[in-house]
């Protein structure tokens, strides 16, 4: 059956068959190649009362399973626009591969101090922790963005400078909001001079962190917790999986207390970031939990009026799929 709205979409943008990957299901996939096309698609979705889900490589879906009409892939928007060695930022489109971006930055002796196997837009939207735990979350490294709202407006938010007290931080509140409040079309990300790193097993995680390692993590396999400091200089690296089933949120500095108690197949404690992520097993009761996969109902513990007000301002028609 040919749907009328599919025809309408085809006039604006390249349309392909939908995806059904278990956690993400769409009827069609569209591939905007310009911000205007992106915005046009969103406007059309608003008009036709369609639900859209924005994604890159679809590698890190978090939250409720998605059943959307239109999957908006950012993969055609994949250019690195500017790398500034003087000002340590990169201006890059949301669909660019994060790994490829890091390779390109390395050629300029620069880096984004995170590991993420997806798109730059995904990196920003998921705001996931990385092993460089003393360097904060991706959100802290986003300097600005071009954002597409649920009304199909293309807006600038933030800048390329490290300081910005000139407007609401729309681009920041989108980070960790998984595309629910709006979509990134382009991002300005802060950089550091390139560094090699390695993992070193340590006994005293607190000491390692206070000695200002790049990061400290705990890895729990089969009941045993090993602690590692991430330090500068080449050497042995650990492979950390990128997809988990649930997370426990805790006070920064108390991650090891949490990981000890949890019953799961595999967990990583991100010391200094207030989060422990786990695979398999059962999420503990009485904790602040984030159900990352296969979640129904309240996955994020985030039933705030402020969020509803933001949704009302940025996506009043409710185009972007309710992952929350």
């Amino acid at each position: 059956m040919k749907l009328d709205w599919v025809d309408k979409l085809s006039k604006v943008v390249e349309v392909k068959g939908g995806i059904s990957s278990g956690d993400v299901n769409t009827k069609v996939e569209v591939y905007p190649a310009t911000y205007e096309e992106f915005a046009e698609v969103v406007r059309l979705c608003a008009e036709e009362k369609l639900k859209a889900y924005v994604h890159g490589f679809n590698a890190h879906h978090i939250g409720k399973n998605v059943f959307a009409d239109v999957g908006i892939s950012t993969l055609r928007l994949n250019k690195v626009i500017e790398i500034s060695e003087e000002d340590l930022y990169v201006k890059v489109q949301a669909g660019a591969s994060f790994r490829e971006l890091k390779e390109e930055l390395k050629a300029h002796s620069l880096t984004v101090p995170f590991n993420y196997g997806g798109s730059v837009g995904g990196f920003a939207s998921t705001n996931l922790p990385s092993v460089f735990t003393s360097l904060g979350y991706p959100k802290d490294w986003l300097l600005g963005a071009i954002v597409v709202t649920g009304l199909g407006e293309v807006v600038k938010s933030g800048s390329t400078t490290t300081k910005f007290s000139s407007g609401y931080k729309i681009w920041k509140v989108l980070s960790g909001s998984l595309g629910w409040l709006g979509a990134y079309a382009e991002l300005n990300v802060r950089l550091l001079p390139y560094f090699e790193y390695h993992f070193e097993e340590v006994k005293d995680h607190e000491r390692a962190f206070k000695d200002r390692a790049l990061g400290v993590i705990g890895v729990k396999v089969g009941g045993e917790v090993k602690k590692f400091a991430v330090k500068k200089g080449d050497g042995e690296k650990l492979e950390i999986p990128e997809v988990f089933d649930f997370s426990i949120l805790t006070i920064r500095g108390k991650e090891f207390e949490e990981i000890e108690g949890v019953n799961a197949d595999f967990c990583v404690a991100y010391y200094g970031l207030g989060i422990v992520r786990c695979l398999g097993g059962t999420p503990p009761k009485g904790k602040k939990l984030v159900k990352e996969r296969g979640c129904e109902g309240d996955c994020f513990n985030a039933n705030y009026t402020s969020l509803k007000l933001l949704k009302k301002s940025l996506d009043p028609e409710g185009v972007f799929f309710d992952v929350i």
Partner: protein, 455 residues
């Protein structure tokens, strides 16, 4: 209304007489307003009760911290009720790398209340007095932003009260955390009742290098060079010759040579970083020294704003922020403007962030001199924006910079910000006429016209 407020906070903490005029201005001294009444709640419960009452009465409100805003963000322009949060200065908890505080606490008290081996990174020069509520609301900066990021990066979560009277406490989660929208929102979306802040392990050692240059061009090229050499200093400040000469005549004097000076602080990989920085200074025709005791130099830098009192009773502090790469160009243009217009402009600023603070003196008793200062300031800010910069790096838009929004943003950008403001504050109760506006208010006199309108 006044009676109701007195019932909540006690007679002493509702100020109605002449004294209330103390709350008619802030750090942006070029203008003042007049509050109808000032209320100082003594704790969180009282603050909630006061604000709920005022919101229910549809009273216009300015939330105030310590009143050091340099953009006039706390000046009551429409006879608002000023709710000063100064007394909400409790430390609620210190655990791990987190500290939870009331919004009225002074920035300096956060590190003081933290374990000895940790510190709170954001350090605006006003840290001794400015409050965390104000710091969060302006997303304040300081010297160490260049490495540790602005206040934003140190705010984990907030407790706020919205204009519908609801109190919300956000979980410090990486996901769906509305804290982000309140940081830098200048008291326009709600009042901050508590902040959970991040503490960072102190570095083992810090080292200061003082770079001395004969031209502004050399000094600013050195700034860019330091980053290109792969060094991220923990602070990188510039004082130009004019500001050095002023500071050296004030109580903040440190014996700095009369030249363009860079203060460069390093806090990791010391040996390697020092070698690189020294090379950059030399390559840009600079000289340097490594003071044994660097405190007087940083004190001179922190005192550079108040030191302006030596030359003028009043001055404007600009805050435009350019990409570092544009520093040589904009500084040479500012020098040119100063010469051509016969206006003293002292530059003392966060060079590592490209965050300029041209200080432009004016005579508070002479409107013409204020007008000239505003005009020169406007020209510099416009130039910064045209070079890829922003109107405010850290002091905020307040009432001072509203006209630059239409230079920085387009109509759609402003429309979206307006929707956010209206959604949180449908009756326009919070900080009217300031910050992120689509439509500017009617100027009430010529000074506001100079500030808000283009020639």
């Amino acid at each position: 209304m006044i009676e109701e407020l007195r019932k909540i906070v006690g007679d002493k903490w509702v100020i109605t007489g002449e004294e209330r005029k103390l709350y008619s201005f802030d750090g942006f001294t070029a203008v003042s307003g007049e509050p109808s009444v000032v209320v100082l709640p003594g704790n969180e419960e009282e603050a909630v009760e006061v604000l709920r009452y005022l919101f229910s009465r549809k009273a216009k409100v300015v939330i105030r911290g310590s009143g050091t805003s340099l953009s006039g963000a706390t000046v009551p322009l429409q006879g608002e009720v000023v709710v000063a949060m100064t007394r909400l200065n409790k430390v609620y908890s210190v655990e791990g790398y987190e500290i939870e505080v009331g919004p009225g606490i002074a920035n300096a008290m956060v590190t003081k209340s933290a374990p000895k081996d940790l510190f709170y990174a954001p350090d605006p020069s006003s840290y001794v007095v400015s409050s965390i509520g104000g710091n969060v609301s302006h997303d304040s900066g300081g010297m160490r932003v260049v490495k540790y990021g602005p206040t934003f990066n140190s705010v984990l979560s907030l407790k706020v009260i919205l204009t519908n009277g609801e109190v919300e406490e956000f979980t410090p989660s990486p996901f769906f955390n509305p804290t982000s929208i309140f940081v830098g929102s200048e008291g326009t979306l709600g009042a901050i009742l508590r902040a959970r802040l991040k503490l960072v392990p102190k570095p083992k050692a810090r080292k200061t290098i003082v770079g001395v240059f004969q031209t502004v061009g050399d000094a600013s090229r050195a700034v860019v060079g330091i980053f290109k050499a792969g060094v991220v200093p923990s602070a990188l400040e510039m004082m130009d010759k004019t500001s050095v000469s002023i500071v050296e005549r004030s109580r903040y004097k440190a014996g700095l040579p009369l030249a363009h000076v860079l203060l460069i602080e390093l806090d990791e990989d010391l040996e390697e970083s020092i070698a690189r920085v020294v090379k950059v200074i030399r390559d840009n025709d600079g000289e340097f020294f490594e003071p044994e005791d660097d405190a007087p130099y940083w004190n001179a830098r922190k005192g550079a704003f108040p030191a302006m009192g030596v030359v003028s009773r009043a001055y404007l502090t600009l805050d435009c922020n350019v990409p570092r790469a544009k520093l040589p160009l904009i500084l040479s243009k500012v020098e040119e403007m100063s010469r051509n217009k016969g206006v003293t402009i002292a530059n003392v600023f966060h060079a590592g962030d490209g965050n300029l603070h041209p200080l432009i003196p004016f005579d508070p008793d002479d409107k013409a001199s204020l007008r000239k200062a505003i005009e020169v300031g406007s020209e510099i800010t416009e130039l910064a924006i045209s070079l890829g910069g922003v109107p405010s790096g850290e002091h905020g838009i307040g009432l001072e910079k509203v006209k630059f929004l239409e230079r920085y943003y387009n109509a759609t950008d402003l429309e979206v910000m307006e929707r956010i403001r209206k959604a949180f504050d449908p009756h326009g109760l919070l900080n009217p006429c300031k910050s992120f506006l689509k439509e500017k208010c009617q100027p009430k006199d010529e000074v506001f016209r100079w500030l808000w309108e283009w020639d």
